[in-house]
């Protein structure tokens, strides 16, 4: 049976898909990919459904041995991917031959990479999803992050013989300082006018306490009118909670479903993938926009993904026509793929 073997898991590598939707009323967190844009594109590039399960790896990538031919793609953070120790490009379909080893050098931009597999990762679907939810020891590969020697079965789907790539204009650029757009509420009226002004005009830094559950930020404190506590209500991906210390926490993929802190604003969906690629130490400003505007941006974001899909359907190369040339330039080895566009 086709499978991959984890030689080294990297810093924190889990299986993620769209997440576990439909169970939040039972208190079940959604989980799923932090950067859903990169997850979707990685799947598009290997001919999968956009929300199929892929590997999400953080900061330091894994070392993976393939026992079968396979098509993969790597999107999101650039961690210097290599096949058999030669650098390979990101945001493109990569042909892997049985015995090949995928590894990474070091992070160049972003924070999380996605590796999609054309055959699919064959782990059980639990509550409608293959996403790993670490705190619940549930989903993904045995409910946990990957370890050395783990062997993950791949599905039986035959691999295709064509691939595609993303032109530069579609590839996101990850900055260390950025503007994150938000919609104020649900509890913006629990804050003083001055506090709201502070929130929208200051720079906030992601602290080291930043993981799949949430990012604690550092920066000017945000004052409540009375107190930080509310009767617990719902939390969404991107909710910005402000507890008693006045410092915001952005709730991310592994967030709990409900919480008792005031939420001053929520990050708009198209900016979540950008946020997911920001590392501790990165900085951001918040900009408030209207709901109407946010829906316009969301529509453009989804149309962008449709354009990417269309492009990859119209621009295909035959993976078997790929000629692997090994070049040595100034003492450095490069693996160069040349291919004919169909």
């Amino acid at each position: 049976m086709a499978m991959i073997k984890i030689i080294n898991p990297g810093l924190f590598t889990t299986i993620q898909d769209r997440g576990r939707w439909g169970y939040q009323r039972f208190g079940m967190p959604v989980a799923g990919a932090m950067d859903l844009f990169s997850l979707r594109v990685s799947n598009i590039l290997v001919g999968n459904n956009e929300y199929d399960a892929a590997l999400e790896t953080t900061l330091l990538g894994p070392e993976i041995l393939f026992d079968c031919d396979e098509l993969i793609s790597i999107t999101g953070a650039n961690m210097g991917p290599k096949i058999n120790n030669s650098p390979v490009p990101m945001w493109t379909t990569l042909f892997i031959q049985a015995g090949d080893k995928l590894s990474f050098s070091k992070i160049k931009s972003g924070f999380r990479s996605y590796i999609a597999f054309s055959r699919g990762l064959d782990v059980p679907e639990i509550m409608g999803s293959r996403s790993t939810f670490i705190r619940g020891n549930l989903g993904g590969y045995n409910g946990r992050k990957l370890n050395s020697k783990d062997e993950i079965s791949l599905g039986n789907k035959p691999i295709g013989n064509t691939g595609s790539y993303l032109p530069k204009e579609f590839i996101p650029v990850y900055a260390k300082d950025t503007t994150i757009r938000v919609i104020l509420g649900p509890q913006d009226d629990y804050f003083t006018e001055e506090a709201k002004k502070t929130f929208l005009s200051s720079q906030y830094t992601i602290t080291n306490e930043a993981d799949r559950m949430g990012y604690r930020l550092d920066g000017p404190k945000i004052q409540h009118v009375e107190g930080p506590d509310i009767i617990s209500d719902g939390i969404v991906f991107g909710s910005i909670q402000v507890p008693g210390d006045g410092l915001p926490i952005i709730m991310m993929a592994d967030r709990q479903t409900t919480g008792g802190y005031t939420k001053i604003a929520v990050v708009i969906t198209p900016d979540l993938p950008i946020l997911a690629q920001m590392s501790p130490g990165s900085t951001m400003n918040f900009k408030s926009i209207s709901i109407e505007k946010s829906h316009k941006i969301y529509k453009e974001y989804e149309e962008g993904l449709q354009r990417i899909k269309k492009f990859t359907e119209q621009n295909r190369f035959n993976i078997y026509d790929t000629k692997n040339l090994k070049l040595n330039i100034n003492g450095k080895n490069f693996k160069v793929d040349t291919r004919e566009i169909l």
Binding site: R25, P29, M127, G136, G185, I231, D233, V236, S239, V266
Partner: protein, 248 residues
């Protein structure tokens, strides 16, 4: 309850429908009726409905339905609601062994409140608790209605691992841990019933709006039920439409 329900945005895909700023059975009934009515209509673009203490979080797809349109629809549904509880009351019976290794803090709870252990058991098990909402961890229910007579502060130092099914008290609240987890509640007993099973459908036994009735059992009965639960043979007793026990 507010005179006029508030509709508040929670990002570009969420709407909070807020009915009041307090915890009350009346608001809970309204929330249940509203959730049922939305589910019945099955209107397009709604992805998920999450009831909480005093509000409903509605997750929608903005490509299918706009913000104003969804509010318009929700307002229309709300206008058609009855004040009465439209759904049949469900009382879920949870056999529970009190004290001993299953409830190591029950003596402390008794002492703290100037009661005997038997009195604590009697008080705790003679009320039916309204489950306002689920959250915190999968299957964890926030229960209302515990008697003031057994209020006890949390542990000074939380335990690192509490077994699933443990029933505890924290201040004015009582609750059951659905999965093994760390926690600071005063543990008074344990139920062998599984509140959360990811492989089952539905994965969670309890629903917001249910009442929970604790039925005191001894250790032998606990082990007997646990064995049935582990073999997938135990059927939880759910009383439908029965009258609610209370001590208020």
């Amino acid at each position: 309850m507010y005179d006029k329900t508030k509709f508040i945005p929670a990002g570009d895909k969420g709407i909070v429908m807020e009915f009041g700023n307090s915890i009350s059975p009346e608001i809970n009934t309204k929330i249940r009726n509203m959730v049922m009515a939305i589910n019945k209509l099955k209107f397009l673009g709604i992805r998920e409905i999450i009831p909480t203490y005093r509000s409903i979080m509605i997750i929608y797809d903005p490509l299918t339905i706009g913000y104003n349109k969804i509010i318009e629809k929700l307002k229309k549904i709300e206008m058609g609601l009855d004040d009465a509880n439209e759904s049949e009351t469900r009382i879920v019976e949870l056999p529970t062994v009190y004290g001993g290794e299953y409830g190591p803090d029950i003596e402390f709870v008794a002492e703290h409140n100037g009661l005997t252990v038997d009195e604590v058991i009697e008080i705790h098990s003679s009320t039916d608790y309204l489950l306002y909402m689920l959250g915190f961890t999968p299957g964890f229910g926030y229960l209302g209605g515990m008697s003031e007579k057994i209020e006890t502060p949390r542990l000074q130092v939380p335990r690192t691992k509490i077994p699933a099914g443990s029933t505890g008290i924290a201040g004015k609240q009582t609750g059951i841990y659905p999965i093994d987890s760390p926690g600071g509640w005063q543990l008074i007993g344990r139920t062998p019933v599984r509140l959360f099973n990811p492989m089952a459908e539905p994965p969670v036994l309890l629903n917001a709006g249910d009442y929970i009735r604790f039925i005191p059992i001894d250790e032998d009965k606990y082990l007997e039920i646990l064995d049935l639960v582990n073999r997938g043979k135990y059927k939880v007793n759910i009383v439908k439409g029965g009258s609610i026990h209370g001590n208020d």
